[in-house]
């Protein structure tokens, strides 16, 4: 199950995968480009499902991998939100 996957963060800290965190991040990216809330929720659910399908049979991934995978899926649903989501940590 995806919840047993370990995520290695940039700082080196390890934590368990959290669907809620990913969901909240996608929602925030969609809302930041003024996507209606209902559409943002649908998109976030779809991205979480796609990402969790990718995580099956994986024991450990980095947070960068998760972000990359989620961004690849998001670009299909909402390219503008995907642009913001991909760049957020590297804004300056």
């Amino acid at each position: 199950m995806a919840t047993s996957v370990h995520i290695v963060k940039r700082s080196g800290q390890i934590e368990s995968y959290s669907r809620e965190k990913l969901y909240a991040g996608i929602i925030a990216a969609c809302l930041s480009v003024r996507t209606p809330e209902g559409a943002a929720q649908d998109t976030a659910k779809a991205i979480c499902d796609i990402t969790e399908a990718w995580l099956i049979n994986k024991k450990e991934v980095t947070s960068k991998d998760i972000r990359r995978k989620a961004a690849e899926a998001l670009v299909v649903h909402n390219p503008e939100a995907a642009y913001i989501y991909k760049r957020e940590r590297n804004s300056f």
């Binding site: 929602i27 925030a28 990216a29 809302l31 930041s32 480009v33 003024r34 809330e37 503008e80 939100a81 642009y83 913001i84 760049r87 957020e88 940590r89 590297n90 804004s91 300056f92």
Partner: protein, 241 residues
């Protein structure tokens, strides 16, 4: 000799002041932090009014920071320097040329991204603060911090402007300083107007990304040119002002 009020040097001084302010405006950090702040505010479902309050607070903080830096530089230069010399202008020109070359070579961390060359700890601090900012005052202090963080790149235009302001009557200095600050912070004011009008953050970010190389060249070459111009124009007669 008062550079801004002296008919002989007024045009050159004003041109240099204008160029310094426009170059200051071409730097990216304050605009980046503002788009990040607005993106986070929208992502957390803050109201439009709250978004504008936060961004307004940030812009005011940045304006305050730039104003204080410029007036402090002017005061210190006025207090320490009785007569300017060609050597002083040469030193400032050298600072400007070095800054320009650094901007041309290293303003972005790598050639494919728009990640700026600022200390990683400062970048992390600004990122975390912009994410956690909820109140206008916090946004104001974030604006202050951003203005100071980019100082290594802005020192040359600020010092050149301070040299122009030095020696002028107080009222002239104040008016010129206000002009500089408003022009230098004009991108933020424009961003505030665009966000208020409902423009998307992604569009603004994409514009910055698409034009980053152009802005980098303009900034780097511009600083070199104005530094040499300042040296040639104001020190060529021995610099006694």
């Amino acid at each position: 000799m008062h550079t801004l009020t002296d008919p002989v040097t007024a045009a050159s001084a004003l041109a240099l002041l204008l160029a310094c302010a426009l170059l200051h405006a071409s730097f990216q950090l304050s605009a980046s932090v503002m788009t990040l702040l607005s993106g986070h505010a929208l992502g957390k479902k803050r109201s439009h009014a709250r978004l504008l309050k936060l961004c307004g607070g940030y812009v005011l903080g940045n304006i305050t920071s730039v104003g204080l830096l410029l007036l402090s530089a002017t005061y210190i230069i006025s207090a320490l320097i009785v007569n300017t010399s060609a050597l002083l202008w040469a030193g400032l020109a050298l600072l400007g040329v070095v800054t320009g070359l650094v901007v041309l070579s290293s303003y972005y961390r790598n050639s494919t991204s728009s990640r700026l060359w600022i200390p990683l700890s400062a970048a992390d601090y600004l990122y975390e603060r912009s994410k956690r900012t909820k109140r206008s005052f916090e946004a104001f202090t974030l604006g202050l911090a951003t203005g100071i963080t980019e100082l290594p790149f802005l020192a040359a235009p600020l010092l050149l402007t301070a040299m122009i302001l030095r020696g002028n009557p107080d009222s002239t200095q104040l008016i010129a300083a206000i002009f500089y600050v408003l022009l230098a912070c004009s991108p933020l004011l424009l961003l505030l107007a665009l966000l208020g009008g409902g423009k998307k953050v992604s569009a603004l970010e994409q514009w910055r990304q698409n034009n980053r190389l152009f802005l980098q060249i303009i900034s780097g070459v511009g600083i070199i040119v104005i530094s040499i111009y300042g040296y040639v124009t104001f020190s060529v007669d021995g610099g006694a002002q």
